[in-house]
């Protein structure tokens, strides 16, 4: 079994290299100000401190940015579910004229990156009056085509007889969706919610464009802006990175089975 041992060691080495940047981030965030700027670079804080976090939250308004990010990601998730679930189900199971053509058009639209329309979208939101507001940040999450296909893919497995039986019993289409379809779709709902939450939390370019008010910044925008003012303060910047990314890393660790399973299922079928 030496070949197995060697390959396990190789996997462990590769994993250690992969995780090193994230572990180093946490370690440096606990160092005294200035400690990381030495040679050779220290790996472990000699005298661990929370001073960097204290400065972030007490003097630099990190708590506000954290709250902003939580709010934006929660709203993005709820709105995406609200818009995507009925549409994904309708495209899978409801027979209506124009459905096939619509699905094909949506598939073609998947090829167009969202950034292509960013400038006109900005102008459009300026006309509506949504620039520099969370409504403006949330707008792209309403138009998530990938989410529609994720739900549709899952909804295709619902047996037609189940829906027909409910119809014969006199249930309205809304009742069927609410009481029969949604419970079946639960795994797809969880996967979609996780993807949208992580995606909106990590999103940078669009919030950077839409939000001009410093107090409205989400964590990535605030961190990038802090990085331009305090580039020399390595320990402070690492603490800011920890606050920005550790919430989603923990969420991923807690739900990794679902997350990776959802991605694997999607790529097998897709």
């Amino acid at each position: 079994m030496t070949a197995g041992r060697a390959m396990t060691a190789l996997a462990a080495l590769f994993a250690a290299i992969t995780l090193a940047p994230l572990l180093w981030m946490v370690s440096v965030s606990l160092m005294q100000p200035g400690e990381a700027g030495q040679f050779p670079p220290p790996l472990i804080p000699a005298d661990p401190t929370l001073a960097n976090y204290r400065e972030l939250f007490a003097a630099l308004g990190m708590g506000g940015f954290l709250a902003n990010s939580l709010l934006v990601s929660t709203l993005a998730t709820l709105l995406a579910l609200l818009f995507t679930l009925p549409a994904g189900y309708a495209f899978a199971k409801l027979r209506f004229s124009g459905r096939t053509a619509t699905v094909q058009i949506l598939l073609a639209l998947l090829l167009i990156p969202g950034q292509i329309g960013m400038l006109p979208l900005f102008l459009e939101l300026k006309v509506i009056g949504l620039v520099n507001s969370y409504a403006g940040v949330l707008v792209p999450w309403l138009a998530g085509i990938i989410g529609i296909f994720l739900v549709r893919q899952y909804a295709l497995s619902i047996p037609d007889e189940l829906l027909e039986a409910a119809r014969i019993d006199g249930a309205s289409e809304w009742d069927i969706f609410r009481h029969i379809v949604l419970p079946i779709l639960r795994p797809a709902i969880a996967t979609l919610a996780l993807f949208v939450f992580l995606g909106s939390w990590n999103d940078f370019m669009w919030p950077l464009i839409v939000l001009s008010d410093h107090d409205l910044y989400t964590l990535p925008v605030a961190l990038a802006s802090l990085g331009r003012e305090r580039a020399q303060d390595i320990e402070l910047m690492m603490a800011g990175s920890v606050v920005t990314t550790v919430p989603v890393l923990l969420l991923f660790l807690a739900l990794q089975r679902q997350f990776i399973g959802g991605l694997l299922a999607g790529s097998v079928k897709g």
Binding site: P40, G117, I260
Partner: protein, 300 residues
């Protein structure tokens, strides 16, 4: 089924999909088409203040772009990212997938999560971390090179090294996702087939070369297309790590669009950049498909 039931189902179909379709039309399709229209105007800060200052200029923005050295720099930089990054992502992801799929390896789910973690990490935060990892004097990367006896490299300060350095970061950040695609493909290779090859005396390398690799060629094509598209969309990486520098050596096409549009408020020019970017992405995404067709023809 009754006529009323069919009508109810049809109505529900449209009602259920209408909100999403409306949002897609308003906030995705309309802006995308409008980009094309906007690129034919001289929309700038004056038009932003008063729309009456807007003029139709035909293809002038495109002509100006083709005459602008910065546009060619941005395009060249972006292609350099693609040429360097895409093969690296394919190789690293495939290696990771083979390791994680190999039954001899212990604790495979643990390694899988570790390899995937960077993909989940917030891009801006990870870019900030790597900016310091790549620091010339205090960075871990140069320290590691030093222990191997290699001289320090000014990763983000030297125009020759800035793109390889950012590519290194991008590969680290994104190979986990490509690994999952390979993993999904590897799991479709029947164990019996691999066993049969082994019994026939094929070694580990021969099994990889003749049984596993042919089965995952479509997955490799998919990974290549997705990485190409992703490499054309680099923005936050240079924005956070180098601000497009040094000497504009990391300005990407998308970065140029952002600067033209939202820094200088030349929205007409910015839209022209967006249209060019779209054409480039479509053209580049066709390359792996064409290569695979060629490969298939040769094998037959």
């Amino acid at each position: 089924m009754s006529g009323a039931g069919v009508r109810a189902e049809r109505r529900a179909g449209w009602l259920f999909s209408a909100p999403a379709l409306l949002a897609i039309a308003l906030f995705f399709v309309l802006p995308t088409i409008a980009s094309l229209a906007l690129s034919l105007t001289d929309f700038d800060i004056y038009a932003l203040a008063d729309i009456r200052n807007l003029r139709f200029v035909g293809l002038d923005n495109y002509a100006a772009l083709l005459a602008d050295p910065l546009f060619w720099t941005a395009l060249g930089n972006t292609l350099w990212f693609v040429a360097l990054g895409v093969p690296l992502v394919v190789i690293v992801a495939l290696g990771a997938a083979i390791l994680v799929n190999e039954r001899m390896v212990a604790w495979r789910p643990v390694w899988r999560v570790a390899f995937f973690a960077p993909y989940v990490a917030t891009l801006v935060a990870a870019a900030v971390v790597w900016k310091y990892l790549l620091h010339t004097r205090y960075g871990l990367v140069n320290y590691a090179l030093g222990t191997l006896g290699l001289p320090p490299v000014d990763w983000l300060g030297d125009p020759r090294w800035a793109i390889p350095a950012i590519t290194l970061f991008v590969v680290w950040k994104s190979f986990g996702y490509a690994m999952l695609i390979f993993l999904a493909a590897l799991q479709t290779v029947p164990r019996e087939l691999i066993e049969a090859a082994r019994i026939d005396g094929a070694g580990w390398w021969a099994r990889l070369r003749h049984v596993i690799l042919p089965a995952i060629t479509p997955a490799a094509g998919l990974v290549a297309v997705l990485s190409i598209v992703a490499m054309f969309q680099l923005f936050a990486e240079p924005y956070v790590m180098t601000e497009g520098g040094p000497a504009q050596s990391t300005v990407t096409v998308l970065y140029l669009m952002f600067e033209e549009g939202f820094q200088w408020w030349n929205l007409g020019t910015g839209a022209a950049v967006a249209v060019v970017l779209f054409v480039c992405i479509v053209a580049a995404a066709l390359v792996p498909a064409a290569a695979m067709r060629l490969l298939r023809v040769r094998r037959v």
